[in-house]
Assembly symmetry: C2
Homo-oligomer: 432 residues x 2
């Protein structure tokens, strides 16, 4: 699980948190109902045993010991949560641990380089059981996703003689054209509750099925999330507190929220959060229809790497950021050897481990931020494991609902993305 | 090479560009001198044949056909440029093309997970010729870099019996303690000209040696860069134009520069640029000593992935960004098959390729930005190859010098990073 410290937000949050009380009442009601008929219904995913059972049943049916590649074809809300958890637990090692399997591969944007390389990889398969393709599109009509799926299925067909539809799982809205087309072809389907938007869907089949396919313990992931909800609604509401800090600092001109992770394997969690915050509160109009151009821009930094990159900007530059430091009690560690090639250089690493160095840097940075009066929060995970990650994801999804409420915007729509989609569709159709 | 379009910056840049004329005179003088005695001297790296010769000589000596891993131990300016070029040309495929060699590995932050996995990988080596370790630290005393180096050398020693010092290359300032210690042990060294800072060092041995070690054509990389300098100083000064646009938009409240790459393999170029912009203009004080907290926050977005993530924020949210779209004329492409699993879904992809889809999306986005009156520039690379990448890197380094001039800050120092380094050092020393 995780802890949150807001001591260095440098603002009194009492009033802001107070105003959130009535929204907590509403959320608690939805949570107790367990139903999927309200915009906030994604908070009911973590305790939904029916979804877990469906996912586990399909995993048992599709996953064999010979599975080498679990390919997720999806973009945005359809893959960012899965990639966040996969990279944190497993995927970060894929570059160095090249023989481990099953590996998860991601086909997100319509990228010729990635498609060509993935097709090449698939041509080395010896049986269809070595691959599983999960096609995820909430609307069922995402251009890049469908294009990528067809290219990869064609590569499999060329290798295996037939497009192996029994090695495909489709995850989409139950009433989408994709759902109907897949059912008609006998392809296994899992549904996304219709009011659960992509960026809130990681604990639905969207995240749970692909994660389970490579061995992630999705029960513990959901347990971490539901524990977080129970805690927030019963006692210490970390989500409301964090949202209050972000809202208050935004009013104060801190219009960038830097998420500074001190473990590189959490970078994809940051990318998931970019969508969550960007799409949820980046809005042209307020709830009452005023043109407000609301929003806070989320950024992702990695410690200590980015201290050697944008650290100068953060410490010396514009006072336009509120920072969320995220770290974890280390499980793994590596000692720095006492017999060294250059013992006379940096003698202060004597007897230390890599984690000691990282901790000293993080502590040094916090002191420097304090001295520069830069506002920050501290999130500390107990470990980088399913339970703490589930808690973190849920904490952030709940935080965003409170933040949207505080900023008076619709947390769950994304009307502006239609602006470019319409143009793109026209261009593609006209170039026929 | 590359093109720049500033039609949609939505501001008249004439005055701003005019003011840069006198600085062009100064830069031209430094460029003609070829010397390394001015702060801007990194512009002389691209034409420095002596460096190329030194690098090639050492590559010939150290690189054998059996090389499997070229490990770069360095952080910030010591590895971001190398990683930018490597990932754009080769590294992006490493996850999918797992048997290719030599592969470049990066040890940047003091990350126990990465160190443990890399050590495990090194334990599979059969001879020391399979590995090369390039240790890069401009100051010679970077904590994470020295700690990582010692851990990896210890792993090699455990495998091979001895720490293979003849498989190490050190790149540092000629007068650093590291330089002297390495020379004393007979380790091969390459120097960084002392006035070339880390973020301007990619065309020095810092970038050229590791890139050449894995087969990147560094002559073409430098040719692209020097062609860009020649063009900027002789005729069409793209660097001044781009800097003028950024400076004018910053005055206008656009305090975030989003770098939106429409090829995922360019993400690391974006990360390199984050340091370049962040450290160069993110400054507490102006050149005349006023406390100004100057800076523009660089962000990196990937098309089309991030349209499904932060696109809503960009199109609907705060008017605080100026965007630089970066794309390339595709070389590779993959057709979308005409026989498809779901022919009735997204019929507009009929007869199109993946690159067609990407181009239509980029064009659609530009129209949407125009309609929303969001200011943007367009950079178009001829190809993702050494020459165009060299031109892009040089274009951006030169742009930054003009931008710092326009913003009246010191482009070449990073005084604020000492704030946390002092605290970290104290913590490590006190915990002895």
């Amino acid at each position: 699980m995780l802890q949150l410290k807001t001591d260095h937000v440098n603002l009194d949050l009492g009033d802001e948190i107070q105003r959130m009380e009535s929204y907590t009442e509403r959320l608690r009601g939805i949570y107790q109902s367990g139903a999927y008929n309200e915009a906030e219904c994604s908070i009911n995913l973590a305790k939904d045993d029916a979804i877990l059972q469906q996912v586990h049943a399909l995993v048992q049916q599709k996953i064999t010991p010979s599975l080498k590649y679990s390919i997720v074809v999806g973009i945005g809300g359809s893959n960012l949560g899965t990639k966040a958890v996969y990279d944190a637990l497993i995927g970060y090692h894929d570059l160095l641990d090249v023989n481990r399997s099953p590996r998860m591969l991601f086909a997100e944007t319509a990228d010729p380089e990635m498609l060509a390389q993935t097709a090449k990889l698939l041509s080395s398969l010896t049986s269809k059981e070595e691959v599983l393709v999960t096609l995820i599109s909430k609307s069922g009509g995402t251009t890049e996703t469908l294009a990528n799926f067809e290219v990869l299925m064609n590569a499999l067909k060329e290798k295996l003689g037939d497009a192996p539809l029994d090695r495909v799982v489709v995850i989409t809205d139950e009433d989408s054209k994709l759902w109907n087309a897949a059912i008609a072809k006998g392809i296994a389907c899992l549904a996304i509750p219709s009011l659960v938007g992509g960026r809130y869907s990681v604990l639905s089949a969207v995240g749970l099925f692909p994660l389970a396919s490579v061995g992630v313990d999705i029960i513990r992931l959901c347990q971490g999330a539901s524990q977080m909800l129970d805690d927030c609604f019963a006692s210490d509401n970390l989500a409301a507190k964090s949202a209050a800090a972000l809202a208050a600092q935004a009013k104060n001109g801190r219009i960038i929220n830097d998420n500074f992770f001190f473990h590189p394997e959490l970078e994809s969690i940051g990318k998931w959060y970019r969508q969550l915050m960007g799409e949820s509160i980046g809005k042209e109009q307020s709830l009452d229809g005023q043109v407000v151009h609301a929003g806070i821009t989320p950024t992702v930094s990695l410690g200590s790497t980015d201290l050697h990159s944008v650290g100068q900007l953060y410490l010396g530059g514009p006072r336009d950021k509120v920072t969320t430091f995220v770290s974890s009690a280390q499980s793994a560690d590596v000692g720095i050897p006492s017999e060294r090639v250059f013992p006379e250089l940096v003698p202060m690493i004597d007897g230390k481990s890599a984690a000691d160095v990282m901790t000293a840097i993080l502590d040094g940075v916090k002191i420097a931020y304090q001295k520069a009066e830069l506002p920050f929060m501290e999130v500390s995970l107990d470990a980088i494991d399913e339970q703490s990650l589930g808690a973190f994801l849920q904490f952030k999804m709940l935080e965003m609902m409170y933040l949207a409420k505080a900023m008076n915007v619709n947390c769950f729509d994304q009307p502006s993305v239609e602006d470019y989609k319409i143009e793109t569709k026209r261009i593609l159709e006209e170039s026929k």
